[in-house]
Symmetry: C2
Subunit: 125 residues, 2 copies
Amino acid sequence: MNSRRIILLAHGSSDKRWCATFEALAKPTLKAINGSRIAYMELSEPSLESVIHEGVSAGNREFTIVPLFLAAGRHLRKDVPAKIKALERSTGASIELSPPIGENPLLGHAIKDVVALQLDQGTSK
Amino acid sequence: MNSRRIILLAHGSSDKRWCATFEALAKPTLKAINGSRIAYMELSEPSLESVIHEGVSAGNREFTIVPLFLAAGRHLRKDVPAKIKALERSTGASIELSPPIGENPLLGHAIKDVVALQLDQGTSK
């Protein structure tokens, strides 16, 4: 078993419905992978900082952040790496940033399946 | 065969790398579904307006927009419906807006597969 803690990182929003969609998206991963968590970059709770601190308190020293973003923009190129550097410095943990999920070819295939399903079911949804 | 034209709608960005990720994400759908297109809401080309106008010129009268967004925020609740209303009025076409791809459970399962794959391959990527 991998003792590295997985954190699914979403942007965050003041809109509760937006967060509910991300919680549903994260559910299969949180269920399948022991100790994994969802965290938000801003505007929503739990924050990345609180999830890392909680893990460190529980004895975790290694974290992998998987961004629930389709592509990397300024947030993933600048803001999140800066947060990670500060958290590594303050906690002594090792925190790795994975590519955004949208860079994995599996996502493009899932999108094709979603569209094909929608066409099959008619478009009156 | 379905004569409805599918448009995968991404946000758009001035960052070419961001757009390249969306073009890769769209590729399996564009390959599998005849006449489907990618379009951008802002900042990138082709715009939604130009793709709808091109379709109407080619004889299409029905369009389904599938948002390449993980969740619905202000853009999908307000800006895109307003664009659609204006386009329907100016072209006479019927344009349907699907839920964002992230609302389909298939996406959550693809995310789980991406994370599991990453753990299997080690995290030194």
